[in-house]
């Protein structure tokens, strides 16, 4: 006998797995039994075969794109956190930065890719990292700034009673309160970092990353291989998401 809660959590894991398997089986049948040409829509089996065959290049491509995304995630997060700290302590800075952050938030960051590629040269990964960093900056900044303003009245009163210095208030109350928000921002930004780093590869620069290989494979009509690299991108994005989600869970374990 299992409790309803256990049954519920089991159903929550089993249901999507069942759906995923059904979709894959349906897809495979559509291509092998149905009339769809394997050339136009490669079957899951042939995509998997390509992924296995090109595993070394898949891994090195994931490493290149993953490094770009990671550098962007780290740099963008640090910049976002520092900028939020400055904006939270100075109303003037807050008023000055708010419009530029809003402007940054509506720019499709990837549209900067051709410009940055030209600026930093065709043989540099820097423009991809910069694009990932810019994409990361906005959600981390916005969430951190919000977190820095979540300090509870009773905690502020308490620190006032203790006659604590602004630095002490920051260390004892304001920063710890903001930490879960910072990690929520980073979790949201992690997928953006991978997407931006990958899409930026479509606009030229050194080959070898996942994005570059997807477009090369597709343009040489190796559709199954292109799909295999898409599969690699999904795995990379998922890895970034799950790791940052775990970090967020850890940071929020005592709060809310």
């Amino acid at each position: 006998m299992s409790s309803p809660a256990q049954a519920d959590s089991r159903a929550r894991i089993i249901a999507p797995v069942v759906v995923g398997v059904l979709v894959l089986v349906g897809w495979q049948l559509l291509v092998t039994v149905g009339e769809v040409d394997d050339y136009l829509l490669p079957s899951p089996a042939s995509i998997w075969a390509q992924a296995v065959e090109f595993a070394p290049s898949l891994l090195s491509a994931a490493a290149i794109t993953g490094t770009n995304a990671l550098v962007g995630l780290l740099a963008g997060s640090i910049l976002g956190i520092v900028a939020a700290l400055i904006a939270s302590t100075s109303r003037l800075v807050d008023h000055l930065t708010a419009p530029s952050v809003a402007a940054l938030a509506v720019i499709p960051i990837v549209s900067l890719a051709p410009v940055l590629n030209t600026m930093f040269g065709a043989d540099s990964q820097f423009s991809r990292q910069a694009i990932a960093g810019l994409a990361v900056f906005v959600p981390v900044f916005v969430n951190t700034l919000r977190g820095l303003r979540q300090t509870r009245q009773v905690h502020r009163d308490l620190m006032l009673v203790y006659a604590a210095s602004p630095t002490q208030v920051m260390r004892a109350v304001t920063l710890p309160t903001a930490v879960p928000f910072v990690f929520t921002g980073i979790r949201i930004a992690s997928s953006l970092a991978v997407i931006s780093a990958l899409v930026a590869e479509y606009f030229g620069g050194p080959r070898g990353g996942l994005g570059g290989l997807i477009s090369t494979s597709a343009s040489s009509s190796a559709y199954a291989r292109a799909w295999a690299y898409v599969l690699g991108s999904i795995a990379l994005g998922l890895a970034f998401f799950l790791i940052t989600l775990a970090l967020e869970r850890f940071a929020t374990r005592r709060q809310r």
Binding site: H155, L158, A163, A172, V179, R254
Partner: protein
């Protein structure tokens, strides 16, 4: 630590104190002509319906708000100086513990802010954990504790620097009746041990009667002192649970209740008659 000068017997002296809040629709007089003295070691409760300014008065004493008129002295100093000198400890209705710190680290917080060495902090925290009976919960986090236990941690934290004055704003307001009575008995014991003066804001008449040397009955709009009722129940340190069933206790409850009703023509809203 306790820097209260020995020559003064008064913990708090309030004279002709007034507080007006400016809101959009005009000025609201929260407190009007409040005069009150709390002696060192004395337990004084402030009771009254919602809006009578009892919490405001407590915040003024604690220098968390500034009065509009009148004067206020805490151990013969300005409230600001008393706050800077850490002459009082404070506990709010919400325990207000830092959820990312253990019980021990929460109790040590004020000591940490004031640069007490780690060894002395640990020693003091151990004393306080024993005092509030939470020794075995020292390494737990606040979310692992019941509401009553969290409030006991908050009281331990308020006592960390051996203040000669405790300010308490409905600290038991969110607790169930059983826990509440238990906490009151505990507080009587703790006060007897620490000999601190207490200004205690409450909605509950029996709570005020059980704990206090004097009960200050306030009336709303504007907040005024209606009457100060001395509790003829003997020394607070000698009080125990059986007092709750004593005739003298009910007499005092009646006295406070009548003072409350005299203060407002309508039934006093926001006052618990339990």
């Amino acid at each position: 630590m306790n820097t209260a000068p020995a020559h003064t017997e008064h913990a708090v002296v309030v004279s002709a104190l007034g507080k007006t809040f400016s809101v959009k629709s005009g000025d609201v007089v929260a407190l009007d002509d409040i005069t009150l003295t709390v002696e060192a070691g004395e337990f004084v409760s402030l009771i009254g319906p919602s809006g009578c300014g009892k919490s405001t008065l407590l915040r003024l004493i604690g220098d968390l708000d500034q009065p509009t008129s009148g004067t206020l002295e805490v151990f013969g100093k300005s409230p600001r100086q008393a706050r800077l000198d850490q002459d009082y400890g404070i506990a709010f209705q919400q325990a207000g513990l830092l959820p990312w710190r253990t019980v021990r680290a929460n109790i040590e917080l004020p000591l940490e802010v004031h640069g007490v060495a780690a060894k002395a902090r640990t020693a003091r925290a151990n004393e306080l954990l024993d005092l509030v009976g939470l020794g075995e919960f020292a390494e737990k986090y606040p979310d692992q504790l019941s509401g009553g236990m969290q409030q006991r941690v908050a009281i331990a934290r308020a006592l960390a620097e051996r203040p000669a004055l405790l300010l308490m704003d409905e600290p038991f307001g969110a607790l169930d009746e059983m826990t509440r009575e238990y906490m009151q008995t505990e507080l009587v014991r703790i006060c007897a041990e620490t000999k601190a003066a207490v200004v205690f804001v409450t909605h509950s008449i029996p709570e005020a009667v059980f704990l206090s040397d004097r009960v200050v009955v306030m009336s709303p709009r504007p907040g005024r002192i209606e009457r100060i009722v001395p509790m003829q129940l003997g020394s607070t340190s000698a009080r125990a649970d059986d007092l709750r069933e004593d005739v003298s206790f009910f007499e005092m409850v009646t006295a406070v209740r009548e003072a409350l009703h005299a203060g407002s023509e309508h039934a006093p809203r926001g006052v618990e008659l339990r």
